[in-house]
Symmetry: C2
Subunit: 426 residues, 2 copies
């Protein structure tokens, strides 16, 4: 239900910059037509007629953006974690994704995924589907109903995959994509399409050429994978020997930032040149710490990316990551940054809690425009956090309660409310 204007009251906390949290205890968060008007210690006269939902002592924080998540991999989350990327794709991922050619299977799997995503802390997500148009359209319909704001991609892959999953050729892949775009255009309020070349190894030159054209024609955003695994990077170099770096392959076809808003998952092993290209083109990094652990990929140098001014957000990378929780994702991001500091490079200090929170909210949210903050003019995405189940003898301030919630969301936390673009989801 969308209400045109309303007020939430509670202990409000949001990241305005990556180094600063604004905290207002017992503050008022005012939302009109889905847009934040402001946060106030005392409700201004002009808003006094608005309905107030008083969440009392609970925490109110901006919604979280999951910048990288594979919906069709949800059925095997937490399974088959003993492999590295390329073997994992062939053993687990491609066989599972093949099942989505059966719409009945896709329906059941996507219904579960959408229901669980709705219940999660995620208010916005950038989602991979499969190559299948009917299943991807069904995924969009399911996601539309959740109220979560999403970009959804029909995957493109015309080479280097299993016979069952690989698309026939670039032409077929492009025709299917165009049909999918035409079919879904303007159909949804919460869900929009995003171009999704799976990753360079599975996309022929002609396919990426065509996707670049579609991008320019429809002004679509782009998502893909980048420099996740060392074997993958070597393979890309073999397949595209002319490229100066992995990212240059996408760039060559107009699928790497610039006028094409682009998010690339992982960037664990990006070369200096690639980082430079990402920076120049404003490419988003979807940092997926748990997936990078699970698939033994390594640790992305997020401190470096932040210092260089790259755009960064967080992703679960379900099912490379097993957990849907963006709180867990924040804790993992902090954790791996500490191990990176300890084991790889002591000039890159670990992420502070404030920075991880920024990445999960405003950092990733900015891929959608003004989202992930409570500053004036932002779309109103909010979570209401009940931490009364995390018992302690200590009296804690709001910022401490938020820090604790990041680590303990799944051990006593409860999502007591969720709003996306001004609409109540939970």
């Amino acid at each position: 239900m969308r209400e045109d204007a309303f007020v939430l009251k509670g202990n409000i906390c949001y990241a305005d910059t990556k180094d600063h949290l604004t905290v207002m205890d017992q503050g008022y968060l005012v939302c009109c037509q889905g847009i934040i008007r402001g946060v106030y210690p005392v409700l201004p006269e002009e808003y006094k007629s608005l309905p107030v939902t008083d969440y009392q002592d609970l925490l109110i924080v901006p919604g979280m953006t999951d910048l990288h998540i594979h919906a069709p991999q949800y059925p095997f989350r937490g399974l088959g974690m003993g492999l590295e990327l390329l073997e994992w794709l062939n053993t687990h991922t491609f066989p599972e994704e093949s099942r989505y050619k059966e719409l009945d299977y896709a329906r059941e799997a996507y219904r579960i995924f959408a229901e669980d995503l709705k219940k999660s802390a995620t208010t916005r997500a950038v989602v991979f589907g499969t190559v299948h148009v009917p299943a991807t359209r069904y995924l969009m319909e399911e996601l539309e109903r959740t109220g979560v704001i999403t970009y959804v991609g029909k995957v493109n892959m015309d080479q280097n995959s299993t016979d069952e999953l690989r698309e026939k050729d670039a032409e077929t892949s492009l025709a299917d994509t165009a049909a999918w775009l035409a079919d879904t255009a303007g159909r949804y309020q919460n869900t929009r399409p995003i171009l999704t070349p799976r990753f360079a190894p599975t996309c022929s030159g002609p396919l990426m050429e065509g996707l670049g054209k579609l991008q320019r024609e429809y002004q679509l955003p782009v998502q893909s994978h980048l420099s996740e695994n060392l074997s993958e990077i070597a393979w890309v170099k073999e397949l595209f020997p002319w490229s100066s770096c992995y990212g240059d392959v996408y760039g060559h076809y107009g699928l790497f930032g610039g006028q094409a808003r682009t998010v690339m998952a992982h960037c664990v092993h990006s070369s200096d040149l690639e980082v430079e290209l990402m920076k120049k083109n404003g490419v988003y990094v979807a940092h997926c710490p748990q997936s990078n652990i699970n698939l033994s990929s390594g640790i992305a140098p997020i401190r470096r990316y932040l210092e260089e001014g790259l755009r960064v957000g967080l992703g679960t990378d379900m099912a490379g990551g097993a957990n849907l929780s963006m709180f867990r994702c924040m804790a993992d991001a902090i954790g791996v940054s500490k191990l990176y500091w300890r084991l790889a490079d002591q000039t890159r200090k670990p992420l502070a809690m404030e920075e991880a929170f920024y990445l999960a909210t405003k950092g990733g949210g900015s891929f959608f425009g003004k989202a992930g903050s409570f500053e004036e003019g932002y779309e109103m995405d909010a979570l209401v956090l009940d931490d009364s189940g995390i018992r302690s003898t200590r009296a804690l301030g709001t910022k401490e309660r938020l820090e604790r919630y990041i680590y303990l969301a799944e051990e006593g936390g409860r999502l007591a409310g969720k709003y996306a673009a001004g609409r109540k989801v939970i």
Copy 2:
């Protein structure tokens, strides 16, 4: 309630060696007088008169041992994670532990801790208290009531701590310890004392000398910390310049294995000599992966320890670790072993799920004797796991369901039953 003999039915899974899981679907687990008689596909004639609890399609696995946990740190779990060990101790830990001189505070805090531990997957734990005798005795009483089997230590520290927390001198510390031992002797069924020099830097030579004597007099086990952090190790070398390694300090006073059953937390940066000494003396390593992340300590080389035949189990190290869940602890152990392989030493292959499960059950359980397995003659510790909340379109085998539960215990799992030493806890 202890019943003399009973049978549990369900999908049974346990680790008999670190590389092998025994799985028996719809098997019968027979327990007489608290001891496992065996696991059977068909209930033998001789047990047919015993009461059977049929857990149907649920999983039944051995209970978990948390080899290293600080009860008094539970109130600040998930807080203050931006510091390294020594600063963290001074900023967060010592001030919190000082509060336990007030018995009212200790009562409230330990009641919460014990209640939450009871609800967790932990059936056995090796627990640090504080220096305070009355509070530690209260902790033992609370833990006794939970049914969880524990060793509990009154902490010794007569130097290098805050004025509020440090004990007056070695004599006072030893006298308090002797009084505590006399007072609690034979008082509990589930809870036993363990000698607990906090760590070498906070214990004077005379104190450790005296603890060594107490150890021999009472034949007590020992717990402490070892080689967690590089600054800590350098400090130990300064304080005990005669020592050949950190572990040698404990060894010098008879507090490092041999006839003194000993568990040492962390062992992240143990030297070759120290590893040799641990091996020779049968010292247990309590591997605390999440704590080693949170305090930026590093990654313990657990693959090496397993290859060298050291005794290893897992610990949460609450509140260096924020999560009480031993499932999370297993997932973290697997995760950090992958990053160790990737970033530190590619000759040390990551832990498999089976190995982490072994460490959490039989590996750590053996500190208590025969615990952590369903082999004949083991004490009957068991967990009943309901994974119906982890929804999937896939039909999974028991081993896959266990793997998934390790990653997703807190995202849809539910502990449907818990037994320790043959008694129903939940």
